[in-house]
Symmetry: C2
């Protein structure tokens, strides 16, 4: 699981700070999460192949999370993309994009498939053989979802010595990896767990931005390996957090602790602060394993 | 007259090339012309004060000319702008901006005044005591205007010796500068042109992008001091120009020559080419005074 932070600041893009966008590489998927203005340029800088992005998840319709989307869609068209592109985001997102395409007389030559979200409960919005994606209903000034990305239980690993000892034919290896009991060459049934071991532990990533402190999300993200939780403010501006429906670094840490997260990533910093260290320090008072997102940083888990 | 090129490439923003946007400083106005994605970031890099921009002119609704607009409007709001902002652009531009503001529940705290354009004839769209702005109807794949910015005839300069010799009271100096004849202290009428000289020659700037070669614009931009004309292609791709409704460098030069322009600025280059020198060389075969726009370049005229 590899997470590339294209941008992690709030409000407005500046010369040296980008607004929210991330690329999550998980089981051969490249998921784009949020798409602030200039995201396509940051994707290019990171040499992320546009064609590998097939799913875009937009948390909410504030500009710092989606003003780069229509440009990205338009660039994909100019580059003669053919692969389908799925957009998951709040109701209205389709109208915004299609209105601009209509007025530009520029329809995409690839399929653009919108999955508009309006539920206030967590729901499964994407699933294939290896990954599931759920919404995490957040509490912000407008309708907002976080997203939970979960690897599925992977294939079991063969215990090659045990498999040979049990006289199992090569033809059954695939079934064994999938967890089935199989017949051996002597016609006896071999219990799967006597010749296989569990595969790699499936990993999970939760993206929670933007939101005020909301304990309701804890059961949804319980034991998540990596939690990105917005931390717009430091303690000295804690009074602004509920007013603007954002969180402090400490609140992010409190959620991480309650959810028994593996590691907490902080981001969505207000640009009023000079450095980021205080975010980490304040969060670490509550939760130990804290990392700071920074534009361009790559995490591998 | 000062022109700052924020971006001058076509199609899509890239790591090292920006899409179209320019700032024209003329008689204390800061006019923003087109607004590709990322324009607000480039404005910040050039330390152009956001509050000085009160008028934005959008040529057409292709993304590389206006995808930065809604972000700019939104940033102005976050920075608690109070000054009115006038947007001049094709019909539909208001709907695009207001839909996004509605869905973000983010109305501007300043007046946002749209001037939607739909005429296919050149029209006066802005005028004050010192400047006039006219549309230049262009021929592109969708409805497109260029813009002609013209200083008005400035005040006349006093010939101080002649004024003293003519016994004109200080109280009449303002009238003299405005071109009126006045009475002197002896009660005689003094002809204005005997005691004043013409003021500085008014300057003009024409922005023509995007367009196919279109001679009809020549009378509108006749004797313009500075002509920016798009030159997407070199001669070796001349066949693409009419097909995509763009121009070659030579065609831009032909328009400059026919219009007796003072200087031709080239821009809106296709990113398929390695360098820009060939654009200048090809244009100079037809018109002598050619300059290349480059991102970040500042021209003073």
């Amino acid at each position: 699981m590899k997470l590339t932070i294209l941008g992690c600041y709030s409000a407005t893009p500046r010369a040296l700070t980008n607004t929210t966008s991330q690329v999550l590489e998980i089981n051969n998927h490249m998921f784009l999460i949020d798409c602030g203005e200039g995201t396509q340029i940051h994707l290019r800088k990171h040499k992320i192949k546009f064609n590998r992005i097939k799913h875009v998840f937009i948390s909410h319709l504030h500009g710092d999370h989606f003003f780069g989307l229509v440009g990205l869609i338009s660039t994909f068209r100019l580059l003669t993309r053919e692969a389908d592109l799925h957009i998951y985001g709040p109701e209205g997102i389709k109208e915004i994009v299609t209105l601009q395409m209509k007025l530009a007389d520029s329809w995409t030559n690839y399929n653009l498939i919108f999955h508009e979200l309006k539920s206030h409960n967590s729901e499964l919005i994407f699933e294939d053989e290896s990954v599931e994606v759920y919404t995490i209903p957040l509490d912000h000034r407008i309708y907002t979802n976080g997203f939970l990305f979960k690897e599925k239980e992977g294939e079991r690993k063969l215990d090659i010595n045990a498999v040979e000892d049990a006289h199992i034919n090569l033809a059954y290896f695939r079934k064994l990896k999938q967890g089935f009991d199989v017949l051996n060459e002597d016609g006896d049934l071999v219990k799967n767990n006597t010749v296989t071991m569990p595969g790699a532990k499936p990993k999970s990533y939760a993206f929670c931005s933007d939101t005020t402190y909301k304990e309701d999300i804890v059961p949804i993200i319980d034991k998540v390996d990596v939690l990105y939780h917005e931390s717009t403010f430091l303690e000295k501006h804690a009074n602004l957090a509920p007013k603007t429906k954002h969180s402090t670094a400490k609140e992010a840490a409190r959620i991480a602790k309650k959810a028994n997260a593996g590691v907490l990533l902080l981001g969505h910093y207000s640009t009023r602060y000079d450095g980021l260290n205080a975010f980490k320090e304040e969060a670490k008072e509550i939760f130990d394993n804290v990392e700071l997102c920074e534009d361009g940083k790559v995490f591998e888990f």
